[in-house]
């Protein structure tokens, strides 16, 4: 689960990690109060940061929500020094508009929250990340002197500038490892000492929240030699987040596709894509393979949809409804491998669902496994616009025919 920068920082702060101070606002009316509070905490300079679930905000472009061709302003994060008036003007301009960055795609994301933060003077930007290293099933801390740049870029161009330490699951982070990182980051004096505390607390935060990623980019050395998280990205493990109601409450539904939310309510695993052939499959691996099959058949997958193990009439109907809300869909491929679930039951479900809904596009139904023969009969005799297929090959050909015919 992704969360916003301001939420990530609030979590880190709780674990004693030094972060850039700030206040999140959702309307411009809250702006003055936020500034007032930051001033009381000693801030003299200010930054306005758009809160969306995507990186590259600083270099992004803000477009008018109601006229998507109109550029409101360039940059989704701006530093204003002590010029509060200018900061407020900027905040009022971008709030409610659409920020497009290299990570959002051209649809961009609506800026619904701003993080009004203290502006810091700093000497250097560094990089720090904690995540799972899948190759040896241990967490790894990665640090680099090249802060403020995407770590993937550093890894590709100057991999020697990335220092890694692997954490023993039964021991946790060791002091010598913290020192190794500090040395690798070329820290000295107070910054060195401050970092040793910073990294131990940060790792504690990572572990204690069941995070799947903590990325501080940049982490800065301030002019007075403190280590602070200027930005913070925290992803929480989807399989664990419900153990923490307080973090689970940070889920921002506005950041998610409405269709995907609708699907998750019916226990369907749906991801919207840009293609023209919808698909409904049981099992994630087979669902991915079915998307690939659609592409090979000359179409483009419109979605990923895993209906899970049951594939009852109800789930099939919900699946249809969600796929059809996507107006680009020109055909649908249902691919169910009936193992424990019987194909004739699935077929009955498909027929029932098709009767309840008026499906305007051709539907290719491929049922394989237990009672596949009976299932085909049910589909063929339904009198509905259902094209039955037996093998995957057969299904692919019928999808090709369905899209070329429409």
């Amino acid at each position: 689960m992704k969360i916003h920068e301001f939420q990530a920082k609030s979590i880190l702060k709780k674990f004693g990690v030094g972060v850039q101070d700030g206040i999140a606002i959702t309307s411009i009316a809250e702006f003055d109060d936020a500034i007032q509070k930051l001033k009381e905490n000693g801030a003299t300079q200010f930054v306005v940061k758009s809160q969306i679930h995507a990186g590259g905000r600083g270099k992004g472009i803000v477009y008018n929500k109601y006229n998507r061709d109109e550029v409101v302003i360039e940059g989704g994060v701006k530093f204003f020094g002590d010029n509060i008036e200018k900061a407020k003007d900027y905040a009022s301009k971008i709030l409610g508009n659409i920020l497009v960055t290299h990570q959002t795609g051209k649809e961009g994301k609506e800026i619904q929250t701003l993080f009004i933060a203290e502006g810091l003077d700093y000497k250097k930007e560094l990089y720090l990340g904690i995540l799972l290293d899948r190759q040896n099933s241990k967490n790894v801390i990665m640090a680099s002197t090249e802060g403020g740049v995407e770590i993937e870029k550093v890894a590709a161009e100057t991999p020697e500038k990335i220092i890694k330490v692997w954490i023993e699951p039964s021991i946790g982070i060791s002091s010598y490892q913290a020192r190794e990182l500090a040395t690798g980051l070329q820290l000295e004096g107070n910054a060195y000492k401050d970092f040793l505390k910073f990294i131990v607390k940060l790792y504690k935060a990572y572990e204690s929240t069941d995070a799947s990623l903590v990325e501080i980019n940049p982490m800065v050395i301030t002019n007075d030699d403190r280590i602070l998280a200027l930005d913070a990205k925290v992803n929480l493990d989807d399989n664990a987040v419900e153990r923490y109601p307080e973090y689970y409450a940070m889920r921002d539904l506005n950041e998610e596709d409405p269709l995907e939310i609708e699907a998750s309510k019916s226990n369907l695993n749906y991801i919207k894509l840009d293609g023209n052939v919808g698909c409904m499959v049981n099992g994630a691996g087979l669902a991915m393979a079915t998307m690939d099959l659609i592409k090979l058949a000359g179409g483009e997958p419109a979605n990923f949809l895993d209906v899970g193990g049951t594939a009852s009439a109800e789930t099939v109907e919900n699946g249809f409804r969600i796929i059809l809300s996507d107006k680009n869909v020109k055909a649908i491929l249902i691919n169910i491998f009936g193992g424990i679930v019987r194909c004739d039951r699935v077929a009955t479900g498909v027929v029932q669902a098709s009767r309840n809904l008026n499906i305007p596009v051709p539907v290719v139904v491929r049922l394989q496994g237990t009672n596949a023969g009976e299932a085909k009969k049910i589909l063929d005799e339904s009198g509905l616009n259902l094209i039955s297929a037996t093998t995957l090959e057969d299904a692919a050909q019928k999808v090709t025919m369905a899209i070329s015919g429409s």
Partner: protein, 332 residues
């Protein structure tokens, strides 16, 4: 005829009284699996379906019934504990079906099991988030439909459930049987990886070819491919799902995600192909790709063993000997 599990496997079911546990235990018994015990804390002393004793702990089950394989159906929050319990009880194989286990739990469990193995135990776990393992005609430990399988000589390894059934179904319909099929699971931290399974199949005399089905995310497929290139003489066939998957999105499985541009299907297919693995281009062609690879391999073997070649080799050998001994004489 198989790896890891066979007719002799004595299975204990952890979470036997839950709905999943009950349903699949019944299915496993029907397939012929030797289920010897069940475990549900608090229900020790009762009997499952009038024949299988239920115990409060795995240790008790192992002591009383000599179970050597455990299969886990307990809910995700209790999986870590269940695996550790089974490990301590001394079973050799733990098959964990449950989906949705937190990664943090699995990192600890993986480390624990590794450390046990370093201290003289031999225990392996498969999963979590997997369909289990089956040696067709001998025993099925998991949730796969047994009837699609056929006893034979192709080893199957896969990160997915229904996609594996699809591939196995294609194989069976082409008359190609399987030695053992392992679903290794779709999570980022799993007990048995492609590499581990490939090593086992490589050593198994009765496995003639290996089919590995991977997907986007991580680089476990590549890790296995490099091993194949170096050490595996049997034909290896591959398939990678997710050519059309967008980056940064989790495709159902917790481990199926392209992150930072890494773990794409294209990347994996390239590496597999480079390492001599025959990669099926479409999920519809997995069976036929295995068939072709097997035929090609058998032809090669036959050519190697053909009498004509053997005769030529003999002649060459003789000549080499002659010249060598002649050279020796000269030196003398």
């Amino acid at each position: 005829m198989s790896i890891l599990v066979n007719k002799k496997s004595r299975v204990v079911v952890q979470g036997i009284t839950g709905s999943e546990g009950t349903f699949h235990t019944t299915q496993m018994i029907e397939y012929g699996t030797n289920i010897v015990a069940g475990v549900t804390p608090g229900k020790g002393g009762t009997v499952f379906q009038e024949k299988i004793p239920i115990f409060n702990s795995v240790r008790e089950a192992v002591e009383k019934t000599k179970a050597n394989v455990s299969v886990i159906f307990v809910p995700a929050p209790f999986v870590a504990d269940a695996i550790i319990e089974a490990t301590d009880a001394g079973v050799n194989l733990i098959v964990c079906i449950t989906e949705g286990v937190p990664t943090k739990d699995m990192i600890k469990v993986y480390d624990y099991v590794q450390s046990k193995n370093k201290n003289g135990h031999t225990v392996r776990f498969i999963g979590p988030n997997c369909p289990g393992i089956i040696s067709p005609g001998e025993c099925k430990i998991g949730i796969m439909p047994g009837f699609i399988h056929k006893k034979g000589k192709v080893g199957v390894i896969s990160r997915s459930g229904t996609l594996t059934y699809e591939a196995v179904d294609q194989l069976t319909k082409l008359g190609i049987g399987q030695s053992t099929c392992i679903g290794i699971g779709g999570d980022p931290v799993i007990g048995t990886r492609f590499l581990d399974a490939i090593k086992l199949f490589n050593e198994d005399k009765n496995t003639e070819a290996i089919l590995m089905m991977g997907e986007i995310g991580g680089n476990a497929e590549e890790e296995a491919a490099y091993f194949v290139k170096k050490f595996v003489k049997k034909p290896v066939i591959g398939f990678i799902a997710g050519k059309t998957a967008p980056p940064g999105r989790r495709m159902g499985h917790a481990g199926a995600i392209i992150s930072g541009g890494k773990g794409t299907a294209a990347e994996k297919i390239e590496t597999l192909t480079k390492c001599g693995i025959a990669v099926a281009d479409s999920p519809a062609n997995i069976g036929i790709t295995v068939k072709t690879a097997l035929e090609k391999f058998k032809k090669k073997q036959a050519a190697k063993k053909s009498p004509k070649k053997k005769a030529i080799k003999k002649v060459i050998k003789k000549q080499v000997k002659k010249t060598k001994s002649a050279a020796k004489k000269k030196r003398k």
